[in-house]
Symmetry: C2
Subunit: 342 residues, 2 copies
């Protein structure tokens, strides 16, 4: 048995209808819905075929059909008609140009959740190339030293280092000079153990401080840490019975969003293909507890190679066309904006 055009039309009609209503759809409905002019009996035959082929399922004997994961996949891959959507409200948020990136991201994710009615997340853009721009040691008081690490892209990290004996201003100047001469422009990988040993030797009695400073640098430079995630609309999960009926699972999902733990899984690992927008249906995504969800992700890029990800999590019957369209628009919106005025 193979998928011919008529079967595809019927499958599409079934999915469209199910996305709208959330109810299993029967042959009679399709018979009227499509302009194929076929009787419900004929549709029934075709539906039996589609079921056999694995594109649709019957929840129970006397019910209509619902799409299977395979069915959704087919739809998304070949039948979807994503139109770019107007996202004027979000553009407005972008335009207001909060001086704090954080506020902007919070605003966007909130509007996204409101607009789509699905749970949403966004990660702060981060540069891949984690080069050290410069280091600055300053004396806070006799026991504490402040280490400021500035990375490429002007990302700043601080760490307070305890010192056992006071360090005078002169030594500090020397240390600063030494550190910057040797380390600026380096990436994590390029800082070798021998360099560290060398630095310590040069630092003489202050080698302990150097160790701590190097630690601070390592911490600052390792990309993983500051993958900040903002979320909104976890409560939308309650709106979809297929997700909220099992309150155990629903709670787990909500918790994931509240604590933002494990969400990285959604976002990484998708770097291989260069498709900017990706759809994961049901068990296609690996985050535990999200087997009944679909996830759509989009990567966006700001000037300077800063990349971030936007994600939408909803029921499998999410409105793929709409979501993909929205993300597409939002993506280019973010890009444009930053290219223009920064």
């Amino acid at each position: 048995m193979e998928m011919d055009e008529r079967k595809a039309t019927i499958l599409q009609a079934i999915i469209r209808n199910y996305l709208e209503t959330g109810e299993p759809v029967g042959s009679r409905t399709i018979s009227k819905y499509t302009d194929l002019n076929l009787s419900s009996a004929t549709i029934r035959n075709e539906m039996a075929d589609l079921e056999e082929m694995g594109y649709i399922l019957q929840p129970h004997t006397s019910a209509g059909r619902i799409p299977s994961d395979k069915g959704y996949r087919f739809y998304v891959d070949t039948m979807m008609e994503a139109k770019d959507r107007e996202i004027s409200e979000m553009k407005k948020v972008l335009m207001e140009r909060q001086d704090k990136l954080e506020d902007m991201l919070k605003g966007v994710v909130k509007l996204l959740a409101k607009d789509t009615q699905y749970a949403s997340l966004i990660t702060a853009p981060s540069a891949n190339r984690n080069k050290l721009k410069f280091i600055q040691l300053s004396r806070i008081d006799d026991e504490h030293l402040l280490t400021v690490v500035v990375k490429e892209g002007n990302v700043i990290k601080n760490k307070v280092v305890d010192v056992t004996e006071p360090i005078n201003e002169e030594t500090l100047l020397k240390l600063n000079l030494m550190l910057n001469t040797q380390l600026s422009g380096m990436t994590m990988d390029e800082i070798s153990l021998s360099m560290i040993t060398g630095l310590k030797a040069q630092a003489g009695s202050h080698s302990g401080v150097i160790s701590e400073v190097i630690d601070a640098v390592a911490e600052a430079i390792s990309a993983e840490e500051d993958l900040k995630v903002y979320t909104s609309g976890a409560n939308n999960i309650l709106k979809y019975p297929e997700l909220s009926d099992n309150s155990e699972k629903a709670g787990h999902l909500i918790n994931t969003f509240e604590e933002r733990e494990g969400l990285e899984e959604l976002i990484i690992g998708g770097e291989d293909g260069d498709e900017a927008i990706k759809v994961y249906i049901g068990s296609e995504n690996k985050v535990s507890g999200m087997e009944d969800c679909s996830v759509v992700t989009a990567t966006y890029e700001l000037e300077g190679g800063m990349k971030g990800t936007i994600g939408i999590v909803g029921p499998k019957r999410m409105d793929y066309d709409k979501v993909v369209g929205t993300l597409k628009s939002l993506r280019s919106g973010l890009d444009d904006l930053y290219k223009k005025d920064n």
Copy 2:
């Protein structure tokens, strides 16, 4: 009519029972529950009195009674028997002494939610006295200057300042010296407009930079901003029908926890009385959407006068004894720990 001892005993029994079961409690139950040796009929009379006095309510004619807000309040104020609870698991988290305060707080709030089965929040400790310790300007590149502001308690803030024309190292040194001489040790209030004007004058052609730096200082020093809130267990709300039945309201609550907005309301404004642990029942707390909840808050203090708040949000029939006991223990746990080894 006034509250005599017997009425109080009965009221207590009603509340205790209702906290356990969540069901309206009838006269017969109380007759057996207490050791007053009274028949259900007598209890009924007393209950009628208690209802008239406003301590209990009848959801409908043929149902038992449930406590009113006034009833809960009476219970909490005069009848509660909070015992300090063993919070060994949390102590363990504290002991492990995450080098990051953030991780520690996340751990604590998570365990707290798990232990109590209510939604929980904790704010990062912050010093009240927002004195400036020192300022450091550094050159990032020709267009950017880094401002590092260190506050009392070694809290650090950064800001990148755009400059129109390059500033050389020498000028930078001068500016640094100038700023620190004049500003360190100051609080927000003490930095007057005349001082700022003076600084600008001294800075000559770089007065623009000074303005920006002052802005950074103002931003860093204003206490309000970095009231970081960590939450956990919002999903516990789903466990209590009285909160989750109205999924509109439940969603709103969950959203509040997810986005951590408006939670400050719970926490501030309670500074007046010096009771460390406070209980807000139902409409006693002002956060919108929490009329059906009770909130228990505790303030904790770390060395150096750093203060933070812990909060528990649950249904009005929350187990006050347990929650207050837990918070009491946790509070002293946090205190002890930091006093000991920092």
